[in-house]
Each structure stands twice: as C-alpha cells, then as structure tokens.
C-alpha cells in the first residue's frame, strides 16, 4: 500500500472539549538557546547589537568578560564551522573551553547523554554547547542538567545560532547599518531555501525566525526532500517547487546540502536533482542577478551549487562563517551572564 492511497480525510462531526496541552517548561534556564522560538524579536535585536559590540571591542577588554568561566562543547557529530566558531567565541570572551566529542570519550562506551551532561556539570561546566544527531537532544540535556544549553544543531530539528548568523549576513546586504530589528525589518524580502529541507535543521530555524521579522520564506525542492506539510510549520512559509520561479522572487537564496547521512535509504537521482535545483551561473544570472547567495556549509561543489557560484560575487558564504563568531560570542555571553536575556517568545 502506497502512502497517498488514502481514504477520505476524517470529518469532525462535533467539537469536543478535550484535555489541554500542558504549557512547555522549556527553557528551564533563561540563558539557554534551544530554539529560535526561545527568543523574542527584541531578544534577537539585542543579540545582533551585542554581537557587533563584542566584535568591535578591544580583544584585551573582551577577554575579561567571561574570564575563566567554563564552557563545554559536547559534539556528537563532526563539525568544522560551528565547533570552531563557538570555541573561538568563548575563548574570545576569556572563557575556558573543553571539547568532548563522541568518538574520543566515554560516550563510545555507552554513557548516556544525561550522564555525560551531569558529568560535565560536576566538572564545573557552566554552560554546554551541544551538537547532536538526535532531534530534541538539547531539550533533554537542559532538562537533566538545568544548565544553560546552547543548541548547536539537534538532528533534523534546529540550529538557532546558524539562523542568527544568517540573519546578520542578510541584514548586512539588504539593510546595511540596521541592527535593531523588529517585525517589519525584512518586510518585502523573500528568502528561498532550496534543497533538502526535510533533513535540515538550518531550514527549520530560518523558517521559524525570518517570518517574524517580516520576511516571506519560500521552500523549494523535490517532494522527497520537501513534504507539503512543511508549509504548515508556521506563518509566512510557502512552497514553490519551480526553482526558477522561486529565484525570480528572491532577494536571498539559501542553498542546502543533501544530507546523505540522514537519507535513511531514500533513493535520489542526483542527475535529475541537479537539473532541477542546482544553483549555477546561468540560472542565477538569468533569474536572480542581485540575490545574495547563502549556504550553511559544508558545500558540495558541483552538486547543490557550482564552484563558480560559490566563489562568485553574489556569494556570502564566507561572510556567514565569519559572522558565526560574533553571533556566538553574544549567545555564549547571554548564557553565562544573563545580561542579554532574550526572554521567551
């Protein structure tokens, strides 16, 4: 039986009063950043402003802000950009950092996430930056340790600091000089996210953040990688499967890598994929010659985008990487000082 050969949708004959959904206890710690939804628009604004202040600060002054505070980086997945920029961010504020990776720790011996978190807390970690292959892992870690937890990517779910650094990059191009954002800041801006939406935490964090600042998010990709119900994830999200039609409307194009590690047996014709969704020079030149091209990395040259586009004048991919350090300084400082608390949405 194939999915899709379904009987008629169930009809509700009469409304019933039913048990309410209990209020979420998350985040337990006001310094945590689990989801972009933990931040109010005002909180986002404060983080952006603080990122710039910290970036421009004398490194010797900045170095004292979190002097000798203990930051643990707990990484269950490999990472170049996120790990290094969190580490540089924490060190840039004077904190001591330690890296625990799943392949060189007791995690290999079967220690649970809860026990790993409690162990780090007992060792004096004051905040844990977590990258994990399971969606929701950051929620579990926060619940069990009650420490401020920074979600550095949980499975297919969220990657909030990536969305913040993407926002900073977009603003630099589209709204130069503006740092205080509000619900209108990105009014009139269309951001198209292209490719493996289903498996992408970057896509989820961006689609939940950008519409709150006024942007329209267009999702573009084949059915296998972009289910229809993605459009129901929140307001301001629509699906446009025709890449060129999407490009024509876009001021920002965010390309995503196909996450081979999460395809779970899904068969994908890469030739067909490239024909429909690869961002190449002619396509970009013809449909969106002014759009900013983003990519959270790692990029696979020749697959989701060509080398020419990656290295071309519209690409802001390395600016994104660069912005990661400033954003993560602000986020780590918020976790440890409570000085820049975004509050809950």
């Amino acid at each position: 039986m194939l999915i899709g050969m379904t009987p008629a949708a169930p009809t509700v004959r009469r409304p019933h009063n039913t048990p309410p959904v209990p209020a979420s206890p998350f985040p337990y710690h006001p310094g945590s950043l689990l989801s972009v939804q933990d931040l109010t628009v005002e909180g986002v604004s404060r983080l952006l402003k603080r990122a710039t202040e910290l970036e421009n600060m004398d490194p010797l002054v900045r170095d004292r802000l979190l002097a000798k505070r203990r930051v643990a980086l707990l990484f269950y997945e490999s990472s170049t950009r996120t790990r290094t920029s969190f580490e540089l961010a924490a060190k840039g504020l004077g904190a001591d950092t330690t890296l625990i990776s799943s392949l060189s720790s007791s995690i290999e011996k079967g220690e649970s996430l809860k026990d790993t978190g409690l162990t780090l807390r007992a060792l004096g970690a004051e905040t844990i930056i977590l990258r994990h292959n399971a969606s929701g892992a950051a929620w579990l870690l926060e619940q069990e340790t009650r420490l401020p937890v920074l979600n550095a990517g949980d499975g297919m779910h969220e990657h909030p600091t990536q969305a913040l650094l993407d926002l900073r990059t977009m603003l630099a191009h589209l709204r130069p000089g503006i740092e205080a954002v509000d619900a209108e800041t990105l009014a009139g801006v269309t951001v198209t996210i292209v490719g493996d939406i289903l498996h992408s935490r970057v896509a989820r964090s961006n689609m939940l953040l950008l519409p709150r600042l006024g942007a329209q998010v267009l999702l573009c990709g084949p059915k296998e990688l972009l289910p229809e119900l993605a459009a129901d994830a929140g307001p301001g999200i629509a699906i446009e499967r025709d890449f060129e039609a999407a490009l024509r409307q876009s001021q920002v194009v965010m390309m995503l890598r196909i996450q081979a590690e999460r395809l779970a047996g899904m068969q994908l014709d890469l030739g067909e994929y490239k024909a429909s969704y690869q961002l190449n020079g002619p396509r970009l030149g013809a449909q969106a010659p002014k759009a900013v091209v983003l990519h959270p990395g790692p990029i696979i040259r020749g697959l989701e985008l060509t080398a020419g586009v990656a290295d071309g004048p519209q690409s802001a991919i390395l600016e994104q990487v660069h912005n990661g350090v400033a954003i993560r300084m602000a986020v780590v400082e918020r976790a440890l000082t409570g000085a820049e608390q975004g509050g809950r949405a």
Binding site: P10, V12, V21, S24, A134, G136, W139, M156, D232, G234
Partner: protein, 433 residues
Amino acid sequence: MNSLVIRGGQLVDPAAGVDAPKDILLKDGRVAEIAGPGKLKGANGAEVLDATGLVVAPGLIDMHVHLREPGQAHKETIASGTAAAAAGGFTSVAAMPNTRPVNDSVETTRWMQAPERGAVVRVFPIAAATRGSKGEAINDYAALKSAGAVAVSDDGLPILKDGIMREALAAAARVGLSVIQHAEDTRMTQGASMNLGPMSFKLGLRGMAPEAEWALVERDIKLVTEMREARPHLHVAHTSTAAALAAVRQARRSGLRVTCEVAPHHFLLTEEHVGFYNTNAKMCPPLRSAADRDAMIEAILDGVVDAIATDHAPHAVHEKEVEFENAPNGITGLETALGLCLRWLHKEWKMPLGRVLSLLSAQPAALLGLKGRGTLAAGSFADVVVFDAKAEWSYRAAASRSKSRNTPFDGFAMQGRVRWTISEGRVAYAAEK
C-alpha cells in the same frame, strides 16, 4: 472460605441491566447473593464493607497490558503490574506475549499464571500468534488455549505475511480464539517515532503515516472477508486513526467478526502533547492528529468501539530519559484509565456511567470469552470495584504502584476514585483513608 458483604452502594452492572441500590454478598470467590438494601439473607458473620455513596460495579478488565514478566522485571513484574491494576479498579488483565522469552509456549503461559508470580488480580495470558512472534510459523493454539491463553497476538510485531495471517485467523477460529493485531505496516514506519504530520516535521522527527495502520487493517479485513465461512475473529488493538476505525465500522456492517479497542491516550491526547520531546508521550501507535482523536471519541460514543484497553506498557525511568527517537514506545495506563474515562467520557461527553463501565468490563470479557466475569450476576466471580464516582483528584505518577512512571497523565485531573478492588472475593486494593 471467607465471605464479604458490600453494603449500601449503588450497583451498576450493565451486563445484568442493573443500576440500583443493592447489597451484595460474596462467598468463596463468587457472588452469592444480591438483594435490596438491608435484605441480604446469608450475610451473617460476613465482613462488611460500607459502600454508602459509592458505586459497586464488576471489576474492570483490561484486555491489553504488558506485564514484562518473564524477562524484564526491572520495568514491571506480574506482582507490581497487578498491584497497579488493582489500584486502578481492574480485576482482570490480559497480558501481551512480548516478554523475554516471547510467550509462545504452554510453559510460559502457565508460568505467568502460577501463584508464585504474586498476582493480586487475575492474569490472562495472550499467547504469541507465531513462533517467537517472528511472523513465520503459527503456534499450537489448542495447546495454548488449554494452558489458559485467551487470545493470540504478535503485539508490537504485526503479522505482515498474508499467508501467515490467514493461517492464524483460521487456526484461532477453530479453537475459538481471536487474533489480536497490532495494525502497523512496519515497512512504512521505519525509523519513525511519532505521528506523521506538521508536528513531526516541526520537531524534526520521522513520522508514522496514519496509512500504515489503515493499510494493515484493510488487509486483515480482506482476509477475514475471504474466510467468512470459518467465522474468524479479528480484533484490532489500540486503534488510533479515523481511517482504521472507518474500516472496522464498514467490516462490522458487512457482518464480519471484526472488533476493536481504543486506549485512553488515543481518545484524549494528540501529537501536540508530545510537546518538546516528552518521551512519556511516545508510544506505538503514536498520538495522532486532533481529527483522529475526535474520530476515536465519536466511535466510542456511537458504539463502534468494543472496549477501552490501556496498552499499559511500563518502562524504567532511565530507559525513557533518552533522546526521543531512542526512547522505547509505551506508557503506563492501569491506574489512570477509570479516572480519565469518568472525567471525560462520562462527565464531559455525557456517556452514561453504565456504558462507560461496560467498555471497561462486560465488553472486554465478552471479547476474550471470560465466563463469569464482567458482570456481578449471582454465581459470577466475585470481581468487584467499589468507587466514588464523584471524587475529583489529580494523578501522581510518583505514587504509582507500577514499577514504572512513564505516563503523560501525571498531574491530570481524574474523576472517580477507587475505594476497594476485590478479586475473586479477596480485597486486592483498599484506598488509604
């Protein structure tokens, strides 16, 4: 043997058509006499329970529980599971065979019923439909039935092969047992940990399509239709989708012997209750959409649902304190079923008390062929629950008699508080005053 009088209560026995003030005398494990208030003839010398202001009803019957013994006593034992059952008003529980080893033998079936297990209410084993629940070769149902099995099922591991399911239905029909199917086409649910929908997308979890349930129910009904001469009895466990219920409804109209049960969590909660990865809201089948939940309510109210069963599935705290996708499926349910059914089915949705109790006793007794249970007619087993139908309280998982605490109903408002549970004439549970 001992005798016991329950005096001053309102007897609600839907199978006997009784809803009246009655005194009741229990003797030698059976109901000896029922009479108007103060009119019992043989009550002399009997211990008396004062049930003034309380409802006296047939002990509840849960046709779908996991008692985890043999093999996983850290989650639950037959003793602890039946203690939880008694606290919830249940006097009979039908135990699924996904134990370790799988209960596919006369030996295990007998072992589960042995007095050494310390059960405080009656345990009726449901034997595995196939050897090792592997879905490849059917077991000896006649032998299992004479050892005490009341149905066959590979619960949790659906029988996918048409030929094997056909054989199981035919063999079970020959010995008068039902085949209970956990309806999930597992070829469609690989790696999934919640319902497929906007919520699973948002949470970044792989989702189980409702079609996976419907597809297997449809397949099974097709088999039952082809074999209608043999009158096989298909029972669909923990029905969770509107489409599957519609298929059952249709099959019933065509005169087939297709029955179903619904669990309290499926008629009360939705995928929204998963919240941020609450592993105590993870079970299989998963919490579904609001439309599916509403379809469960409708089908209970209009009589298509044959029984309410809890799918009590205890797991140790540490097993649930993990990443959502790695957490085992299942929630406890024995202590919350009555309180939730009365709070919602009866109080909120106005289902008559007798009908609610019937879904929790007389009807499951009939489905499993439990003679002399599910009613308190004279001569029946002295399986009784006495409860205060009006009492409102909050469930506290920490106070559970189960070994496990994995419930999404911690802190939920309940209505109807059990005062005594009596299993074959013995007090199996008495509420603290």
